[in-house]
Amino acid sequence: MDFSTYLFHCSGLANLMVKSKTKDDPLSQTTKSYLRDIFIQEVYKRKKYTDSKYTKKGTMVEPDTMDLVKTVTGKTYFKNNKTLANEWITGTPDIITLESIKDVKSSWDLWTFAEVTEKKARDDYYYQLLGYMWLSGLTRAELMYGLVNTPEFMVEDELKKIYLLNRLVGDFDVEKYKPNYIFDDIPAKERLKTFILEYDQLVIDAIKTQIEYSRAYLGSLSL
């Protein structure tokens, strides 16, 4: 398979940009492991199972988080379904407006939401959003973290799991954990964090270089 024109997904760009610990090798072990997964997926059509309750909730409640954004900012945004691509990367930003790219993340609970700081947000999603800016030609991105209710059947599943574990220690009252998944009592304003990210051509150039190395590495792989 020819990987010389392979388009990397924006969501995976951070994996390409992990610094290598070896001077002679531009690709880190993390990057190589990520590239091996792509190689197996593309050549042998096998995809690693990576689904989790966190990503499931994130996907399911994305529209609810957009409603939260509306409540707080007064602006209505709709989900973008158009996939953008150039000769290097591809991706589907959550929201594209005339001024900026917006990406919506939904936290699992109060604890994970409280952990979100500007540094963490940048560490986790800077390259992804930079990729979207590159694809759309926009120079500003907003990364929005929201905390919205967990879907009811997921709450039931969680409580069921807690029940099965807690009954071993004689604790049958799982209802007391229900508020951990419901956040209507917390003011909407407190449940939304927004971080602004800016376009940076120097970083884009660095991404291009890493993509060239990565494509070459993909072309050299075998089982």
Binding site: T55, K56, K57, T59, M60, V61, E62, P63, D64, M66, D67, T76, F78, K79, N81, P151, F153, K160, Y163, L164
Partner: protein, 297 residues
Amino acid sequence: MTNSIVEYMGQEAVSKNIQETLGKKTPQFIASVTSLVNANEVLRNAEKKSVMLACLTAAALDLPINQNLGFAYIIPYKNKKGEIVAQFQMGWKGFVQLAMRSGQFETINVSDVRSGEIGDESRNRLTGEIVFTWEKDEKKRAILPVIGFVAYMRLINGFKKMLYMTSQELDKHGNRYSQSMKKGYGLWKDDFDAMASKTVIKLLLSKYAPMTVEMQRATLADQAVVGDNDYDHEYVDNETPTAGEIANHKEQKRILIAIKEAKTLKELEECREAVGDDGVLSAVFSRKFDQLAQEKI
């Protein structure tokens, strides 16, 4: 007959398990399992262990597995591997039985609701209670269309609660939780009334009733291929929509609301891209566009 359910239950380890669970009731249990399996060819070909564990669950709850009685059902299903397995299903009478046995209920019942027996004005928004005007003439009532099902319970301590669901809501519920209903067969298709009755009573009990150990066990095992313990139950007929499907549905609803709430053509235009080529949304968008254009807003 080789590999029969009788032979399976005769194996030392299996027989010991049954004896430990049922004690003196073992011979009666073996007789009813044998008669159940002999009467159902598909169940005869089902995996023996799943049949035995499903029946054992019913027996442990002290519910008869005679399908005609409606307390509990043992239903054959094809799992994802293509094997036929037996699934344990509670009937609505089974839930009522367990509730009454707890000694905490003064009354518990379920009924269908016919056209004309409920009106919007009879709902109490605060208590959630509905006043029904039951048709007294049974002959007249029998020909009225069923519009929903209601379950009601009153505890000895005075707590009372009802749960009403329309036939459409129940249909949606069945479609969401039963893979076989989506494909046009299974209990939801064959006996909608029984499944609807069970759904309202199960939801009422799981939300508001004191949960005895028996009730918890019944709720967990219901609609499952019973495993060796509560952790191992496998829900073969349940299929929730994917996370993506749920998100798409919610997003469509958001777009629909935004179209309906648009007060000017400019506001409406902001929804145009999101409408895309969705037929329903496009139609609603066009109607709203015409309406606002006529009002020249």
